[in-house]
Every structure is written in structure tokens, then in C-alpha cells.
């Protein structure tokens, strides 16, 4: 059997649409797919097994593309990447026991980054539930703290209501992953499927979720009187679809914007008011601007420890306005003066008409002056000294792709270089694991992104360490015939850990040197073309080759081994106490010490 042909035949039998208009008896397995189709799902990432087999058996009757993964962790990362790229709910499926536990890392990744995702797992038959049956695990217990909600469904008639509610919960308010565990007998038995009657209660925002008029007035007052304001842009802007509103706020009031890692694509990088990324590896002027600000307007971000540095010294002179949909985030890490709880877009639309224009020239000039020679960012102008630097690689990928690709990164040094040297102008064009920092995320998440946005150019940027964590998904790329370009930033180390060892552990490189397979041969074994790059002169032409190649393409960039990401804030240090790029670093002509 030609597996590829079979798999790409996505137009399976269309279901009888009558099942959505009149109650029809269906098996639980059919109910699962019928409900997914009814919820608008077209793609599911999964791996079959005993306790989910009835569901897989019923798949042929429904117009859903199933992507067979090589490890269930891949399924949850793919569903995650799918959701991040498209804004639609990603769906992952696995069997009971080990299938379910393999999803866990991906679920936690989605939880920490507030990604809408529904995971469906098979469970042993309800008769043997709780008996330690073969491949039984209490997955609802295991995922309790890492899901927004989860369900254990024992009866066929409960499947559709549970799944529909799962979709509602995953998308409403602050999004997050939801797991639905369905016993095998519930899949096998038959019940009347009534899609309309299974509709969940509409999302009722809690009364706390309202920006009261007093707070709005206070926020306006702070905005009117601020001399040195900074907007902090987070991923909540993407979730709320408030890109235009944030831009209008910045432009009307001439307030500069600093982005979190997950908020990097929420505000165009090329916009003159965009300062860049804040935090641990943010550029010095961004962090200095925050530290000197007299007003911070935090939009859909949560003051993570990676963006605040030491809390006791964080933005000491700034009043803080926090616009956030999750009331539990207000005053969690940073005490704020005005908390506006609710949907960011709605709140900004309330604020905007009442905001007068503002002259921000003095403050913007002050920030520009802070850039000084640290803003030497045009690294293309630097002479080739015979070494290949990751920053050059990433900057060249940006230039060749005109900044239009969806870049999916793994976690580590390359992730921070990506954030610094790939300029994202369009929303959702950077997919990266921020909160959990999950190595192995890039390759499967890129598959999810490509399935969600087949028309987009998708690039994986991963380190040699993280890539090996999920590299079996190369086979998924081949089976699904996906055009994904893979750039491995290969420095022979677990680079970010090595950098910490260099800085904080006296260069004791314990367990960070890393032997990798020949990634090009590994790609070749999967039927994926690839090539090595050792010289800066070859970067652009190879990136072009990869783009022109009709199928997936892997480039193994052998970069400088002991390069480090700068600036850097030591854990527990203040945001302005940055370790700057050393003077001998070839990526900057000069730099000043703090």
C-alpha cells in the first residue's frame, strides 16, 4: 500500500449532514468524529492504540485529516503549533496509558502559554476503571494541574456534550488545553447524537471580568500625565485580536512598545515605535526604557520572571496599568496601580476614543540616545572573519524569506537569537515555547503550523540538542508530504546550559558537550534532502536552495561553538543590570560595559 497516497487523500467520505439537523443514533466513536466535524475541526494529530481503536475505526466515515505522529508528545506539540499558527483549536488524540502520558509535556507547554487545544484520550472500559487494567492510567488526575479543565467520560451520551464544552473552555477567556478521556465502552456503545442539544452553556464572563468606569478613568488619567510611558505587548494581543488597537494606542499617544517573547509578533518589528524584546535577553535600551519609565501599560502579558528580572527593583518609578483577561494575573508578580480585567480589544476600544494625542518626542529621543552604539544591529556589514555565527544564519534566513515565513523555534540560544535577529512583521509568525521552555518543541510544532497554514513558508530553527528530542517526526513530514525547511543551529553543545555554565559555574561544561548524528544523513534516511553549511558565504545560497526545493529540506549549520547570547540578565539581578556583549564579540563593533 502506498502510505503517502492514502494519507494525503484527505477527502474521505463526507458525513450525512442530516446527523446535525436531526437526532441520530451513533456509536460513541462516531460521535467523537461527528462532534469534531461539527466544531469545525479538519485536522487531528494522533497515534492509535487499544483503548482508542473504536474511534480510529470510525474515522473513515468522516472528512477529517489524521496526521500519524511518531510519538504522542509530537501530537500535542503539533496541535499546539496548529493553534498558534491559526488561532483555531488544535486537536491531539492518543490511546490510554503511555499514549496519554506521552501527551503530558505538550499539554503543559500549551497550558503555560495559554494555547487552545483539545486532547482526546482513550481509556480502559468503565467496568475495569480503577483496577490497574492493562494500559490504564489516571490521566485526568495526572493532567489536573496542567489543563484548564478535563473530563472523564464513561457514557456514550456524555461524549458530545463533554467535547463541545471542551472546545468552549479551550477558547473562551484565557485559552488553554482541555483533555477529554473516553472509556472504550463509551466509544463502542450507541446513543442518540444530538449536536444542537449538546451545546455547552455559553461562556459567561465572571462579574470580576469588567473594567469598571473608575478604573478606566484612572487609566486615562495616568496615560494623560505620563512623561515616559512604555507599552508592554504580550501574547494576549494575539489571543484577543487586538493588534490594530494596540497599534492605534501606540501611534496616537506616541508611546514606544516593548514586546515579550510570545508577544513579538503582536506588534510589527519594523514599526518605528517598536523597541524590541524586553527581558532576560532583551536589548539594553528596551530594558533601560522600562526601568526609567514612569508608566507601563501592560497589554495581555503576565510579568513573567524572565521579563521582570528582580521584582524588587523592577520599573521602580513606574505606575502600572495591567490590561488582562485573567483576574488571577493581576498583582501576581508585580503590584499594579490600575488593573483592567477583561478582553483587551474591548478595553482598548473603550480607552481609545477618550485618549487625546500626545507629543512623545522627548522620551523617544531619550530612548534613541540610550541605544548608542549598542544599536549596531546591521550585522551584515560586519566583515567575514571566517567564522559562522548563529546570528548571521538567522538574520540571513530573515532577509531571504523577506520576514514572511512562520518560524518555529526550539528552546535555547537559537531561540533568543531568533527573537533578536528575525524581524517579525506579521502576527503569529513566530511559534515558540515561552513559559515551559520545552526542548523538542520546534519540529512537531512546525508540522502543526504547516498543516494549519499550508500556504505559508514554514521554517524550523532548532539547536542540535532539542532537535534530537523529537527528530523521529521527520518521518511524519515525509508521510504527510509537507514542505518544511529545517535549520539546525549546531554548536555541539547544549548551548544555553553551556552559556550558564560559562557565566555562573566557572566554565565547568558538565554534560553539555553533545555528539549528534550527521543530520544530513539522518534527513537522507528519511528521504529528505539536506546539506551542511560551515561558511557564512554559503548561508544565503543554501537558504535559497532549501526554499526552491519542492520537498522538505534540512540545513545543518555548523556555527561557532562557544558563542553566547547577549545582553543577558543573571537570574535575580535587576532588569538594568545586564551583562553586555563583550567588546571582542564580532557581532558588534563596540559596546559599553554597564
Amino acid at each position: 500500500m502506498d502510505k503517502r497516497k492514502k494519507i494525503t487523500d484527505t477527502h474521505r467520505n463526507s458525513p450525512d449532514t442530516a446527523i446535525y439537523t436531526q437526532p441520530t443514533p451513533l456509536t460513541g466513536a462516531e460521535t467523537v468524529w461527528a462532534t469534531l466535524v461539527g466544531e469545525g475541526v479538519r485536522d487531528v494529530f494522533g497515534y492509535p492504540g487499544g483503548a482508542i481503536l473504536p474511534v480510529y475505526d470510525a474515522l473513515r466515515k468522516f472528512p477529517i485529516r489524521h496526521i500519524l505522529v511518531r510519538h504522542e508528545q509530537g501530537a500535542s506539540h503539533m496541535a499546539d503549533g496548529y493553534a498558534r499558527a491559526s488561532g483555531r483549536v488544535g486537536v491531539a488524540m492518543a490511546t490510554s496509558g503511555p499514549g496519554a502520558t506521552n501527551l503530558v509535556t505538550g499539554i503543559a507547554t500549551a497550558m503555560l502559554d495559554s494555547i487552545p487545544m483539545v486532547c482526546i484520550t482513550g481509556q480502559v472500559s468503565s467496568k475495569v476503571l480503577g483496577t490497574d487494567a492493562f494500559q490504564e492510567v489516571d490521566i485526568t488526575g495526572i493532567t489536573l494541574p496542567i489543563t484548564k479543565h478535563n473530563f472523564l467520560v464513561r457514557r456514550t451520551e456524555d461524549i458530545a456534550p463533554a467535547l463541545r464544552e471542551a472546545f468552549r473552555i479551550a477558547q473562551s477567556g484565557r485559552p488553554g488545553p482541555v483533555l477529554v478521556d473516553i472509556t472504550k465502552d463509551a466509544q463502542q456503545n450507541t446513543a442518540v447524537f444530538d449536536f444542537a442539544a449538546a451545546a455547552p452553556q455559553p461562556y459567561r464572563p465572571h462579574p470580576m471580568l469588567s473594567a469598571d468606569s473608575t478604573s478606566i478613568r484612572e487609566a486615562l488619567e495616568l496615560l494623560r500625565t505620563a512623561k515616559r510611558p512604555v507599552i508592554l505587548a504580550g501574547q494576549g494581543i494575539l489571543h484577543s485580536g487586538a493588534m490594530e488597537q494596540v497599534r492605534a494606542l501606540a501611534e496616537r499617544t506616541q508611546i514606544p512598545v516593548a514586546c515579550t517573547l510570545l508577544g513579538l509578533t503582536a506588534f510589527p518589528a519594523s514599526h518605528p515605535l517598536n523597541l524590541g524584546m524586553m527581558g532576560m535577553h532583551g536589548e539594553s535600551w528596551v530594558n533601560h526604557a522600562i526601568q526609567q519609565a514612569d508608566l507601563l501599560i501592560a497589554c495581555g502579558m503576565r510579568f513573567d520572571d524572565r521579563v521582570t528580572g528582580s521584582l524588587s527593583t523592577y520599573a521602580p518609578n513606574a505606575k502600572k496599568i495591567h490590561i488582562e483577561i485573567d483576574p488571577a494575573e493581576i498583582n501576581k508578580n508585580v503590584h499594579v496601580d490600575v488593573g483592567l480585567i477583561g478582553d483587551l480589544k474591548e478595553i482598548l476600544e473603550t480607552l481609545l476614543p477618550r485618549l487625546p494625542g500626545r507629543d512623545g518626542t522627548a522620551w523617544l529621543h531619550a530612548i534613541s540616545a540610550m541605544k548608542g552604539d549598542a544599536s549596531v544591529h546591521d550585522i551584515q556589514q560586519l566583515p567575514d572573519n571566517g567564522h559562522l555565527y548563529a546570528a548571521h544564519v538567522i538574520n540571513d534566513i530573515w532577509r531571504v524569506t523577506n520576514g514572511n515565513a512562520i518560524v518555529v523555534t526550539d528552546v535555547g540560544q537559537h531561540q533568543m537569537w531568533e527573537a533578536q535577529y528575525y524581524k517579525h512583521d506579521s502576527p503569529r509568525s513566530l511559534i515558540t515555547s515561552g513559559g515551559l521552555g520545552t526542548m523538542g518543541f520546534a519540529l512537531p510544532a512546525a508540522i502543526g503550523a504547516k498543516i494549519a497554514c499550508p500556504e505559508k513558508e514554514v521554517w524550523v530553527i532548532a539547536g542540535d540538542g532539542g532537535f534530537q528530542m523529537t527528530s523521529p517526526e521527520l518521518a511524519t513530514i515525509v508521510q504527510e508530504q509537507l514542505k518544511i525547511n529545517i535549520a539546525i543551529v549546531n554548536n555541539g553543545y547544549l548551548g544555553m546550559v553551556r552559556q550558564w555554565q560559562e557565566t555562573f559555574y566557572e566554565k565547568n561544561y558538565e554534560c553539555t558537550p553533545l555528539i549528534s548524528p550527521d543530520f544530513v544523513k539522518l534527513a537522507d534516511a528519511h528521504g529528505i534532502r539536506g546539506t551542511h553549511v560551515n561558511r557564512r558565504a554559503d548561508v544565503i545560497s543554501t537558504v535559497e536552495t532549501a526554499r526552491q526545493n519542492p520537498g522538505a529540506f534540512l540545513i545543518d549549520f555548523h556555527v561557532e561553538q562557544e558563542d553566547s547570547v547577549y545582553p543577558m540578565i543573571a537570574p535575580g539581578a535587576a532588569l538594568h543590570e545586564m551583562i553586555r556583549r563583550p567588546k571582542h564579540n564580532p557581532l558588534v563593533e563596540t559596546a559599553t560595559e554597564e
Binding site: 489536573l144 494541574p145 479543565h149 477567556g173 459567561r204 465572571h206 485573567d326 483576574p327 498583582n331
Partner: protein, 199 residues
Amino acid sequence: MLHTFVALVEDKTGLLARVTSLFRRLNVNIISLTVGGTETVGVSRTTIVAEAAEDRAPRIMASLYKLEGVLDVDDVGRHSAVIRELAMLKIAANQNTRSDLFQLAEVFRARIVDLAPESLMMEITGSASKIEGLVQILVQGNYRILEMARTGRMAMRRGHHASSVLEALGDTTPRVDPKTFSKVLRHEAPDLFEDEHHA
């Protein structure tokens, strides 16, 4: 400090585990937890007493709200509220010592609910400090407490306050019937005194 939260939750399997798991995740120790029925079918009332810094209460409440199935949360410690606990004490007592215990029970408005040749059981309802007062007297009087069971606190706000969420759900029945409202107040008055007396 001690916080007293009242959460109205849907009466469903696993919801209690979600509530307690949340406190564990927030690294907050639960001092006492009571769960029971309410005036609404399908809604359980949990009273949670937890030890946490004062400024953490809003986040704990907000996190409780975020749990699916939690309908309403109140931080009753911040309002005028009646807070009660029930304790049962089994105390070693023979013919000679019984009468003293009867007197103690009367002073503390406790009740003797079981009597055996070598022991008796006392039931006491009231504020935590009242119960602790009784225990202290018993210990200092060299009585042997053989067994003690305490329910943990239950709490209800004073006056005509009702859950805004239940009202929003269409439940318009007043929590307290206005006609009996004044009676309720009168009835509560001695308890108010009691709270202060033992505080």
C-alpha cells in the same frame, strides 16, 4: 493570616479534588475544609480556611473562579460573618467527675450527647475560640480527652447578602426571607455577643 473562603461549586465528581489541588499548586496550606449541601440542588458549599499572606487572597479567589464548576467565591473573612464550628469530644469521666463536666457543658452551651460508664461525649458548636476555650479548661482541669473531632469552620455572611452568581443564573429566591429577616437578626444577636466574649 487565616483566610476564610466560601466557594459554591457544582456537585460533581472530582470538583473537590480540583479545589484542593489548586491550593496545593498555589503553595497554600488548608487549615480546614468543609463541604456540604446548599439551598440549591446540585450546588455544594465549601468553606476553606487557609493560611496565606493577606495580599494573596485576591489571587486565591480569582484562581478559584477560574476552575470550571466553581460558581461563586466569597472571602467571608473580610465581611461581617457568622463563623461556626462543631466539635465532638469524648472525655474520660466516671460517676465522680461527671457532674463537673455537666456544669462545664452548661457554661459553654455544649451538650452531652452520649454517656457511658467510663466516658461521656460532648457536642459543642461555636466559634473556634469558644471550642478552644473549652478544650483548654478540660486540659487544665486534668480531664482526659479520649477523642476529639472538629468539623472545621463554616461561615455565612450576615445580613441580606446572597450569591450574585446564583442570582445571575436566574435563581431569584432571596437567601433570607424578608419577613423573617428581623427574626434572624434577633436570633443571631446572642451569638454575636458570644463571638466577642470568646474572641
